[in-house]
Structure formats: structure tokens, C-alpha cells
Amino acid sequence: MWSELRNLREGVDLGTPPRDGAAVSLTVDGKPVTAPAGSSVMVAAALARCPVPKLCATDTLEAFGSCRMCLVEIQGRKGFPAACTTLVEPGMVVTTQTARLQELRKGVLELYLSDFPAGDVPGGWSELHETMQQTGVTTHPYVAGENHLQAAVDASNPYFLFDPTKCIVCSRCVRACEDIQGTFALTIEGRGFQSKVVASQGECFLDSECVSCGACVQACPTHSLVEKSLFEGGEYRAQSPQA
Amino acid sequence: MSGRAAKSGDAVIHLDVLITMANQIGDFFTPYPPGQREEGVRNHLRHYWDPRMRDALLAHVDATGGTGLHAHVLAAAKLLREPGAAKTGYPGPPKA
């Protein structure tokens, strides 16, 4: 548990926690690179400066493997393993950019966009928007499908709000509340397409067990959970009543 | 220019407060064997009390023989007067 905390670097997100095992050498897109044993292929790709797209992965949380954006091809392995949940092995040959991979990433991102407010695609600067730029996918072909775009915003917490219409159910917030903070206030309610993030037993954030540490806001890759103080007019600015 | 402007013996703190504090210090050192007990209390008073508090305590001992003070606290107060009582550095606990 040592390196997972002490080797984190500001402004750098290798995607999965930094390990401190013995060096493992492999090649990514033809470039030789070494990564500590126990690291993911995603880390090796980032160290080789050919980062793979990611949404549910961040290096303060253990790999989860749900968004399927980080699929790569590895020599000798069938199919398209996820870079975040595949550990580096000596002599591995990894390819991160192929037409086939781009096709799959486009397919997955289009599914995400089919349930995301189209109006907020331009002008956003979240990790989701970065992934759109990285893959060049900003539209989707699904017309008038079932969606969550009418869900109500929960602004009960004085400092941050939760806009479920932008939630991609990547569970980074749930995992941050469990592993980093240890309060276990968030969970996923429902299954399949009905899955949604809720606090405690489906209460608003303020009434739930949430201690407002902000770890979930920091972990959210889409600004679904976001500080109120970032919005115009600051009327959301969390002054106490007398101010 | 010596640091002592206030006349010694000023009633810095009410006498009964001083006696209680001194006895509390005495209570701590009670488990130590005789000899070490008095040395412990004396070291503490010497290094932690404002001189005017020490002087007020000694004035009480001179005036009344130290009524209200535990036996080993009284003995410690008398030790304060011996020369060389000003030990350098933290006295540390009385050496076993």
C-alpha cells in the first residue's frame, strides 16, 4: 500500500495505482518501456507516451474495467484485453492504435454519448471531453433512444452538486467513497441500463451519510459531480446564511 | 539590566491556588522513593514556575511553616533555597 499513495504525481494520471515491484520491460507501439511489476499495461502505455483512452480508470483507485475504452491488442492474446486490468509481463508486445481498436472505441463512446446531454459536448473540459478529443468521436447515431436526460440535479450539499444527466456510471465516485474516504455513502442502485449512482438509501447528498470530503467530486470524469463555486454568478457560492 | 523588575513576593497568584498546584505536583512524585520524591518536586518548581510564584510559596513556608503542603512538597520547597539548586537543562526524572 506504500507506493500507491507515496508515488502519486500531480498533473499526471497513469490510470492505475503506481506499484513498486521489480522493473518489467515490454514494448508498446514498438517503443521499449519498463514498468514496475504489478503495474497495468495502461501505466506502461502512459510511460511510453502513447496513452490509451480511459474513463473509469484513475491512478488513485484500483482498476475497475467497466468503460472498455482502454482496449488494446497484445501479441499472443486473443480478443482485445483492457489495458487497465491486464498486468505487464516481460517481453509483452502491446499495440494501442489500430483501425480495429479505433472502431471499438468509437462504438463504446457513441453508446456513452447516446445518454449524455448533447448541449454540453461543446465547451466542456472534463476527462470525458478529453477522451472525445483523443478519439475524435463527438456524435452518436442513436436516434431518440431511452435515456436519463430528465433526471433532477441534487444541489442539497452546500458545496457541490450532482447532475445525473452527465453520469456515465463509471463508479469512480462510489469507489473513491469506499477506498479513499472509507465512508461507504455512495452505491449503484438498480441494474443494467437502470443503474444509477445514489447516496445512502436513495437520499439527497445532504441527508445521506456523506461527510462531504469531495473525493467523489475529484474522481468524477464528466463534471456530473462538480463544485458549485465553478458556476457563473457564484450564487451557488457556499456562504453561510448571514453573509 | 536584570530581568527582575517586579518586586519579589508580589501576590502574583492567590496562595491557595499555589498550594493546590504544589500538592498536585507532589501527588505525581508520591510513588518515587524518599529522596527522589523531594528532588523531583524541587526540579519541577525550579524549571517550570515563574520566580514570583516560587517566592510566594517560600514566603508562605517562612510565614507559616508551610501549612497545607504535603510533607515531601514542603521538603522540596526548602531544597529550593539550597545553592546550586539551579540545575542546567531539563532535570529529567529523578535518577532511579
Binding site: 483492457a82 472502431e103 471499438l104 463504446v108 453508446l111 441494474r191 443494467g192 | -
Partner: protein, 520 residues
């Protein structure tokens, strides 16, 4: 002279009135002051004849079915206790073609014994496998199972022996045996028949697995929809404990093994081994990524062997008669026998345990007798709701893991569902996507969102909206689901859809023959 009459206690028989039949027989005998012993046995698996009553006569067992309560007086009048002829008579049971031509190894005792009688179980070669195993080294037991060529009967088809070898070699104790008794595939019931009809063979298989891999505790993860199986299994476990076949030192051998039943909560996804383990640990049934394999890091993070009920129920006979005996059955790399379950629109629905190699057509026509409605067979789904739909042109495929996989079909859990020519294959494709959407655990995006989009696309195509564009988008979506999903639910839900598109394009309003061959 007391005559023995057997009436099944199997859930299918019960649902068709077996209890009423048994009560009627007993009452009739009492009225005629005829000493009789009515024994509630397991079912033979001839479901179209249930309740199937058997009478022990000097010429062997004579079967009658389907016997409802009001048929009983007529049967007695015709001298049924002596096995005489009657409109419901099926003659000597062993001679019934449906049964005679099967190779029943795992289901050898089906219909013969009282499921909870340990004595009867031992009398029919029960516990020999475990006794032999305890006399061998754990490694030798593993190799015996490897030699048998037994592969996972749940659906994955992974060689059971190799899995055991991995768990045996994994570091860390305690280790666990977990039985996947979720049996979520529509139209399958072989697990249920084992657990209700011959619980000891499963429990014996679990003990052997524990001995071979170093696991000392087992969990049966049973679907909540099988209450009878739960009762029978718990009674059987208690019996084994009392008989010192489960506990701290089985038969004084120093090998400890015990087990308990845990009830699932109705999610199909918990039939997938990692979601099953999550559920068993009291968490949401969500998929864990692999590796690490459960054999290395499974239940509570410990090495765990996860096997299907039928896989484990096939182990005792392997240790009893040897791996080679078992391997002699079957073809190619599909060794041994598979209990196939005929269901859907079929004339003779029931259990057919055959060696691999039998063709689908034999199963459907010779054993199944064609459709129940009498109309021609138009489509067949093999291997559960994620299996491909085959039309007539593929019915000559042999039952073999590799042969079916080549046609994007799968052996799965051995379920075959028959459809006649009234079936609408576009609706079946839509249902496949809807099933995936309802049962998706919601973790990975291709399945969570893709299944709903898939259903919507098929509905548009059927409504004739932008058919060409939506058809192209449906194929692209199926490609993403197949290749990007985290588990087999999202990964294989497209198979029934693509096979329906390829073999039955007309049902979708698509021109015939132009379909790219995705099911090569």
C-alpha cells in the same frame, strides 16, 4: 406379498399431480387391503409421461404414464400391480426406446432410488468414487479427472481437470469448492434433476474436488427458484454428516470437508462465476475482471474451484470406473457424455444423456419426436438464451464443443429449445437483446447501454424505419458488444441476433441471401 410402486417426487412430476397420484394408489391399496410400498423416487426424465408410475414385477419394472389420480382405479382394475396391459402402459421401463438408447453415466440412478436414502445410493455404486479417491494422492485424483477429458458442463466447457490442477497448485488456504447451481438458461433442468433426484452424487463430487484441490469447505450457490432442491440438498448434507462422510475427518481419513447451501437472488448474471462469487460474498452480483482467475483468487480472495452441478456429478463415476472409462465415450475433444435437455415445442420433452457426437437432428426427431404441435421444426436454439438459432440446414451438426462453436452455436448447459414454423425470428432476436438488457449487471458500457440500443434498433428495423441504416448500425453494435464487453452476457447476446439475421432475414423485412456471413 408387498409390491413396490415408485412415484417420482421431482418438481416437474409434482407440478403434474404426482402427489395426488401417489395418494390415490395408497388409498386404493388400503381399500383392497393390498400390502404396497409406495416409494417416492427421482424422475426418469420422461417428462411427457409424468407422473410416470413404475411397478416392480418379477419381469422387472413396468411403467405407466402419465398417471393422474382419477386413472388409478382403472389401472387397479386392469391388474396394474402385476404389470398387465393398459392404455397408459409403457411396458418394461428398460425397454423404452427413449431410455434404452441413452448412455446414462451421471444419471445412472435416475428414477431408480429414493434420493435421500444413503443405503440405496451406496447400493447403486454410490461413494465408491470418494472411497477410491481417499485411497489415492490428491494429485493422482486430479490426473484421473484430466484423463477423463471432462469439460465444464455449465457452459464454458473448460477442462475440469486443468482447473483442479490450477487450484491445487495455488498458494493460500483456506481453499473453497463452489458449485454453480444457478442454472439460469431457459429450458434447462439437468442441475435441478441431480439436486432433487440424486443429491449424494453432487455432494460426493464436491468432496472429491475438495480432496483433490486441498479445499475443506464447499458452497452450493443455488438459484432461489429451486426450493425443492434446497430442502433435499440440506437433508442430504445432514445425512452425510451423520454418516461421517462429511465433517472433520471423513471416515477417519484425516480429510475434512463440509458444505452448505446458499440461495441466490434471481439474477441470471450470477450464473457467471465471478458475479456468483461476488453475490456469495454478500455483494452486488457484478462481474470481476479476469485475470486473476477464481482458481487463484476466488471466494474471499482465496483459491476456489467453481464447477457446475453436472460437472461435479460426473466426477464420482470417473473415480469409480477410472478416467479412461469415461473418456471412451464422446468424439474429438468432447469426451464423456452430456445430459441434453429437450424443451420448447417438442413432442417428447425430457432428459437425454448421450455421448458427444450424436447429431441435433437425432436428438430432436428420434428422441424428441419432432414438434409437439405437429408442425415442421423451423428453428432450434442450442446452449441457452445466448446460443445461436439454427435452421434445418444445421441440424446435422454433431453435438461437439468445437463443431458448434464453429457455427457460433454452443453446447452451453445442453439445453435445446425447439420452435415450429409459427415462430417470428425477428421477435426472438429482439427478445435476445431485451433479455440481455434486463439481466445485465450494468457494469460495462457495451452491455449496459448496448443491449437497450440493440433492442431499439431491431424494433425500428421491424417497423421499417431507415431499415438499411439501422441494420448497418445493428451489425456494428453487435461487433462492439461481442468484442468489448467484460463478460459473456454482453459478449454473446449478439449471437442469437446475428444467427436470426443470417438464417431468417425475411422475418426482419430484409432481402434474403444478401446477409454477410457473420455466422460463418
Amino acid at each position: 406379498m408387498t409390491i413396490k410402486v415408485c412415484v417420482p417426487r421431482d418438481a416437474t412430476a409434482l407440478s403434474l399431480g404426482a402427489d395426488a397420484t401417489a395418494r390415490a394408489i395408497a388409498a386404493e391399496c388400503q381399500r383392497l387391503r393390498q400390502p404396497v410400498q409406495v416409494v417416492r423416487t427421482s424422475s426418469r426424465g420422461l417428462f411427457w409421461l409424468e407422473p410416470f408410475v413404475e411397478v416392480e414385477t418379477p419381469q422387472g419394472r413396468v411403467g405407466y404414464g402419465p398417471v393422474e389420480a382419477e386413472d388409478v382405479p382403472g389401472l387397479f382394475a386392469a391388474g396394474f400391480l402385476q404389470g398387465s396391459a393398459h392404455q397408459l402402459a409403457q411396458g418394461n421401463v428398460d425397454a423404452i426406446p427413449f431410455l434404452a438408447r441413452q448412455e446414462r453415466l451421471c444419471f445412472a440412478r435416475a428414477g431408480l432410488t429414493d434420493p435421500l436414502s444413503l443405503a440405496e445410493y451406496e447400493a447403486h455404486r454410490g461413494l465408491r468414487g470418494l472411497r477410491n479417491a481417499l485411497g489415492m494422492s490428491p494429485a493422482a485424483v486430479v490426473e484421473e479427472v484430466v484423463d477423463s477429458g471432462l469439460r465444464g458442463r455449465g457452459g464454458a466447457g473448460f477442462p475440469t481437470g486443468i482447473k483442479w490442477r490450477t487450484v491445487a497448485g495455488a498458494l493460500g488456504t483456506p481453499k473453497y469448492v463452489v458449485v454453480n447451481a444457478d442454472e439460469g438458461d431457459s429450458g434447462t433442468y439437468s442441475d435441478r434433476m441431480v439436486m432433487e433426484g440424486d443429491p449424494f452424487v453432487l455432494l460426493e463430487g464436491m468432496a472429491i474436488a475438495g480432496y483433490a484441490t486441498g479445499a475443506s469447505y464447499g458452497y452450493v450457490y443455488l438459484r432461489s427458484e429451486y426450493p425443492h432442491a434446497a430442502r433435499v440438498l440440506n437433508q442430504a448434507i445432514a445425512t452425510l454428516r451423520a454418516a461421517d462422510w462429511y465433517g472433520a475427518s471423513i471416515q477417519g481419513s484425516g480429510f475434512a470437508f463440509d458444505a452448505e447451501v446458499r440461495i441466490g437472488a434471481g439474477a441470471y448474471i450470477c450464473g457467471e462465476e465471478t458475479a456468483l462469487l461476488e453475490s456469495l460474498e454478500g455483494k452486488r452480483g457484478m462481474i470481476r475482471y479476469k485475470p486473476p482467475l477464481p482458481a487463484i483468487k476466488g471466494l474471499f480472495g482465496q483459491p476456489t474451484v467453481v464447477n457446475n452441478v453436472v460437472s461435479l456429478a460426473s466426477v464420482p463415476i470417473i473415480l469409480d470406473r477410472g478416467g479412461k472409462y469415461y473418456a471412451d465415450f464422446g468424439m474429438g475433444r468432447s469426451r464423456g457424455t452430456l445430459p441434453i435437455q429437450l424443451a420448447g415445442n417438442v413432442k417428447r420433452a425430457g432428459l437425454v444423456e448421450k455421448a458427444f457426437g450424436v447429431t441435433l437432428r437425432e436428438l430432436i426427431e428420434d428422441y424428441g419426436g419432432g414438434t409437439r404441435s405437429g408442425r415442421p421444426v423451423r428453428a432450434v436454439q442450442v446452449g441457452g438464451p445466448l446460443g445461436a438459432y439454427f435452421d434445418q440446414s444445421l441440424l446435422d451438426l454433431p453435438l461437439d464443443y468445437e463443431a458448434l462453436a464453429a457455427k457460433k452455436g454452443m453446447v452451453g448447459h445442453g439445453g435445446i429449445v425447439v420452435f415450429d414454423d409459427t415462430v417470428d425470428m425477428a421477435e426472438q432476436a429482439r427478445y435476445a437483446m431485451e433479455f440481455c438488457a434486463v439481466e445485465s449487471c450494468g457494469k460495462c458500457t457495451p452491455c449496459r447501454i448496448g443491449s437497450t440500443r440493440g433492442r431499439e434498433l431491431i424494433e425500428k428495423i421491424v417497423r421499417g424505419e431507415n431499415v438499411a441504416r439501422n441494420h448497418r448500425q445493428l451489425l456494428a453494435l453487435c461487433d462492439v458488444m461481442e468484442n468489448a464487453s467484460l463478460c459473456a452476457l454482453g459478449g454473446m447476446a449478439p449471437w442469437p441476433v446475428l444467427s436470426a439475421l443470417q438464417y431468417f432475414p425475411g422475418d426482419f423485412g430484409l432481402p434474403a441471401g444478401k446477409e454477410p456471413a457473420h455466422v460463418v
